[in-house]
Structures are given as structure tokens and as C-alpha cells.
Symmetry: C2
Subunit: 192 residues, 2 copies
């Protein structure tokens, strides 16, 4: 098995031991992609059969609000990127694109999904990914209501300092839920 695939599989199988047979089965539906910055992976309002896992590089997910990009997620190394809507065979609400030259694993959802109903390990593997996502969304909702914009900035800075090295502040601002200008002012105020 490709050692890169192994990383991905291990990452979402901390709650169960996968047999070699199952791992091999999953690998059949994975492949490696090398993509340049600005390559678009998933387009808004389109059905799409793949999700991705970042080996090296970075990607983002965003949608348009009145012509302005609102970023909803930045995937760095060992992060998943994909649309649950796509997994449900519905069109993605978001556009996803690579923002650094990157190496990704692509996961063929169309092929893997039916295996949930015949292979219990795969069912729980997928379940782990979805549960992870639900917990991420719960946090997102909670923090966006509970915290002031300054708090959200400071928490992100604390938990994901790498983002600030690699992602333009313009993108990060909309991720936190504020305008570019407001983020700039928060940063100025903080260092007083």
C-alpha cells in the first residue's frame, strides 16, 4: 500500500482496527493528485464524485455572497476537503480550490459509498470522517455565536497559527466572519 494512503487511512481509523483487506479495498478508490495553485477542485452548484485529503499544500472552500467570496474552510496537511452535499449526491454549495502547489489524495465517493452497506469497517471509517465534520461544524456555530470578533481572531491565532503564515488575511477575515478592514483594525488594536 502506498505510504501516503496509509496516512490518510490511519488518520480516520483511531476508533477501530482495520484489516489489511479493508485497507486494500479503500485504497482501490484513492489516487494521488499533484496540482498547481489556483486549480479548482469542486465548483459551486455542481455534483462531484470526489473528496480530497491534503498530503502537502493547502486548499480552501468558499462561496459567493453578493459577489464577495466568503471562505468557509482552509485545508492544510492532513485535512479533509470536500462537500457533504456531494456525498449525498447533491450539488456542492461551495467552490473549492488549491491555493498552494499541492499533493492531494482524491477519494472516489461514488465507489466507496456503497461499500458502507457491505463492509462494516468501511461504514465506521466513513462515520468517523462525518462525525469529525459534524464536531467541526458544532464548534464553528458555537464560537461564531459565543465569541466576539476579537475573541474569534485570537482563538484562531492561537489554535491555527500556521494559517496566518500561509493564507492571505483577506481570506481569513471572511472565515472569522468579518470584513478585511475590521480584521486589520483588530490586529492593530491587539498589538497596542
Amino acid at each position: 500500500m502506498d505510504t501516503l494512503f496509509k496516512n490518510f487511512i490511519d488518520y480516520f481509523s483511531t476508533n477501530q482496527q482495520l484489516t489489511e483487506l479493508t485497507k486494500a479495498e479503500i485504497c482501490k478508490h484513492l489516487s494521488i493528485l499533484n496540482l498547481d495553485k489556483k486549480h479548482v477542485l469542486i465548483k459551486e452548484n455542481q455534483r462531484h464524485d470526489f473528496a480530497y485529503f491534503v498530503i502537502k499544500g493547502a486548499a480552501r472552500s468558499y462561496y459567493l455572497k453578493d459577489g464577495v467570496e466568503i471562505n468557509t474552510w482552509f485545508a492544510l496537511e492532513n485535512d479533509m476537503l470536500g462537500s457533504l452535499q456531494n456525498f449525498q449526491d447533491k450539488p456542492s454549495r461551495e467552490t473549492m480550490e488549491v491555493i498552494e502547489n499541492s499533493t492531494l489524495i482524491s477519494i472516489n465517493l461514488k465507489q466507496i459509498k456503497p461499500l458502507m452497506f457491505s463492509n462494516i469497517e468501511i461504514a465506521n471509517f466513513i462515520n468517523a470522517i462525518i462525525t469529525d465534520y459534524a464536531l467541526f461544524l458544532e464548534d464553528k456555530v458555537y464560537f461564531s455565536q459565543m465569541m466576539s470578533s476579537m475573541d474569534r481572531y485570537l482563538i484562531l491565532l492561537d489554535k491555527e497559527p500556521e494559517l496566518f503564515q500561509r493564507i492571505p488575511l483577506t481570506y481569513i477575515a471572511s472565515y472569522i466572519g468579518i470584513s478585511r478592514e475590521t480584521l486589520s483594525r483588530l490586529r492593530a488594536k491587539k498589538t497596542l
Copy 2:
């Protein structure tokens, strides 16, 4: 099998056929509760082994922000109520309480969860519930960023008119993400 249990099971098994054996297995970990208004089901910051499904009545989930209740979910008939954090064996961030005299199914998470790894139908049954929840959260995030407060009010009014008959506006306001007073003003403006 109790016909009330059947409703619950059917509700989350539209994507697969469950054998009678599995249904019976699930039922072993369900029970019926009749509770009065104001009964607290789950307390903030506590571990808890149960999730709930509303047969008849209503319940809500909320947390405190600076001493003010922020409502995050209203469960009416055929809705789930519970904490994914609890399912992960962590303390719930939210308090959940019954707000009408209600009949609920309680689901013993501690007992059902391990079955995911031995019974594939149960794995997919639970997966359906979690996926449902993730999609709900996705919508919540999307609408809270994408829509103005007026839009959020109108959409909720359109999609869940029953809430407005059964839930105090004070609760609904924080669910939409605005103060009681602002909701009041939106309603006044709308009927001009």
C-alpha cells in the same frame, strides 16, 4: 415491537432495509418517557448517556452566554434531541429541557454505540442520524452568514411555522441570532 419505537427506527432507516433482528436489537436500548414541561433532560457541562426522540411534545436546547440563554434547537414531533459531544463521551455544552408535557423515546448511547462495530446495519443507522445532524449544522452556518436577520426570520417562518405557534418569541429570537427586541421590530416592519 412497540409501534412508537417503529416510528423512530423507520425515520432514520430510509437508506437501508433493517432486518427484524436488528430492529429488535435497537429496541432493547430504547424506552418511553413521559415528562412534564420544564423537566431538564441534559445539563450543561455534564456527561450523559442518553439521546432523545420526540414522539409528542416539544423540547429545546440552549446554552448560557453572559447569563443569557441562547437557544440552539427546538425539537418537535419526530425530531432528535441530544448532544454529539455526549455521544463522544464528552460533556454536553448545552442544557436541554422539555418545554411542553411530552412523550419521548430515550436512546441509551452507552449501550448502542459499541454495536456499531459488530452490526453493520446499526452502524449505518447511527451514521444516518449523524449525517442528518451534520447537514442541519451546515445549513445553520450557511444561513447565518448568508442571510440578513430579516431573511432568517422569514425563512424560519416559512419552513417551520409551527415553531411560532408553540415556542415563545423570546426563545426563537436567540435561535435566529438576534435579541428579543430586534425580532419584535422585524415582525412590526414585515406587516407594514
